[in-house]
């Protein structure tokens, strides 16, 4: 029974199926909203799903310079770790494996899809991919610092005088004291986190790694068919996971009493976060240069997060 239950968690509800479906839905929302902002009709909401299934039906070409195992395994590893992160993030107060993991685990699990992209791109043997992985890695280094600072600030706020890296404790604290976002010392951290989310997902102003017009999609250049579809799915799932992480860190205090309502509220909040931090920035900005991106994250964004951490440390 326990095994069945865990299998259900892993494969269906907060795990693989739910995350991928909802991730694709969020990607659709993102594309639609961007289109509406540009005064277009835009693709239907199901468009990412069509993309994914179309890619599954296409031929997967493995170039002769590529290492077959790494080339095919990389997207799957990314997919699996993304599906698993969702098990540790409270979805409206519901965690599949509560108490089993904390923020640091999530932080590390979130880097795995990036690493998978890098290893996959690197194994394809293309020099464009080489440039792409370099940029992806620099982006990763860039957002890691503010991300860490935000997590530490939240942990300190929720934990008080004791250590609380656990997501569950953050959720409990918010259920008692209201949303983290409305603590004024946490506002800089929330803004920093809103800027970390698009970099992690790799949407418009921060998509230097996959710049399709300069370096031919970077790490994805040699991917086609099912493997590419997997990567596109990973990007969509990352949107959901990151916006879900934001919601559970900063807006996790909304409780109606019924789990179903909580989950619906969670999903709605995810959509809102996606629209604010991904679609809007996508529609209004142009792509950054890689060195500007790094500087931006290590000065402005990290500064915001550090400011928040110091405020929290002073007991505010």
């Amino acid at each position: 029974m326990l095994i069945l239950k865990s299998l259900f968690y892993i494969l269906i509800f907060p795990g693989a199926l739910f995350t991928s479906c909802f991730g694709l839905f969020l990607a659709g929302v993102d594309r639609k909203v961007v289109a509406r902002m540009q005064h277009r009709i835009g693709p239907p909401l199901r468009q990412p799903m069509y993309d994914f299934f179309k890619l599954l039906g296409k031929e997967t070409i493995i170039p002769h310079a590529a290492n077959k195992l790494a080339f095919l395994a990389a997207p799957v590893i990314g997919f699996v770790s993304l599906a698993l992160i969702m098990l540790f993030i409270p979805v409206g107060g519901f965690t599949a494996f509560s108490g089993n993991a904390d923020m640091i685990v999530i932080l590390y699990l979130i880097t795995i899809p990036g690493v998978a992209l890098i290893v996959g791109g690197s194994s394809s043997g293309s020099p464009y991919a080489g440039i792409g992985i370099s940029r992806e890695m620099v982006t990763m280094m860039a957002y890691e610092l503010p991300f860490v600072l935000v997590l530490l600030a939240v942990a300190r706020k929720a934990g008080g005088s004791e250590l609380a890296f656990s997501m569950e404790k953050v959720a409990m604290w918010q259920a008692e004291n209201g949303n983290m976002l409305f603590q004024w010392s946490m506002i800089p951290a929330a803004i920093a986190m809103l800027l970390v989310v698009p970099a992690e997902v790799g949407t418009q102003p921060f998509d230097v790694a996959e710049a399709e017009t300069e370096i031919c999609e970077g790490p994805l250049i040699e991917y086609s068919g099912g493997a590419l579809g997997m990567f596109k799915l990973n990007t969509a799932m990352k949107m959901f996971v990151m916006s879900g992480l934001f919601v559970s860190l900063f807006l996790g205090g909304i409780r109606t009493g019924s789990v179903l309502c909580d989950i619906i509220i969670f999903i709605v909040l995810c959509v809102v976060v996606t629209i604010i931090c991904m679609s809007t920035t996508h529609a209004v900005t142009a792509r950054l240069k890689i060195e500007h991106l790094f500087k931006f994250y290590w000065t402005f964004v990290a500064g915001m997060a550090l400011c928040s951490l110091i405020l929290v440390w002073c007991g505010l």
Binding site: R40, G57, E222, L228
Partner: protein, 148 residues
């Protein structure tokens, strides 16, 4: 059921890869116009891809100069099946005003199988859109033929 889903999506998300084989840039601009908010090809799922590996529809403009012929063929070979080739404008169809030149090898049909030709110098965005849409339907047929 799964197969049917895939077949249905084959025509709903055609990604374009654009090859300029010596065109005067007129057709290229019109192709970009198709993607602008006024015509908004994205509502049918059209999207420009950065590499032939991602493409479903290859749009070829220009009269296929001798310099670009080999590169064109090589790039076309790298597109995964099922794929469609759309020739854009009169140049790849007939050579247009460049016909007979020592450096022009039009028509495109001599080297590759062209699924849809959009004629005109330059074709209107509406015409391009229709051509692309037809190509998308052909994609679905090809996909079904592949998995018979």
């Amino acid at each position: 059921m799964f197969n049917k889903l895939i077949n249905d999506s084959a025509s709903k998300s055609p990604w374009l890869y654009h090859i300029n084989s010596g065109s005067c840039n007129g057709c290229d601009i019109e192709l970009v116009a198709v993607l602008t908010p006024r015509y908004d090809a994205e509502r049918f799922g059209f999207k420009l891809a950065g590499t032939p590996r991602h493409a479903d529809i290859v749009v070829v403009s220009g009269p296929v100069t001798s310099q670009s012929r080999e590169r064109l063929i090589r790039t076309l070979a790298q597109v995964p099946e099922p794929k469609c080739v759309v020739s854009l404008g009169s140049c790849p169809k007939s050579g247009n005003v460049f016909k007979g030149s020592y450096s022009v090898e039009a028509p495109l049909d001599n080297f590759v199988h062209v699924d849809v030709s959009v004629a005109g110098c330059t074709p209107k965005p509406e015409a391009i859109m229709e051509g692309l849409y037809k190509a998308a339907l052909i994609l679905k047929e090809k996909r079904e033929a592949m998995h018979k």
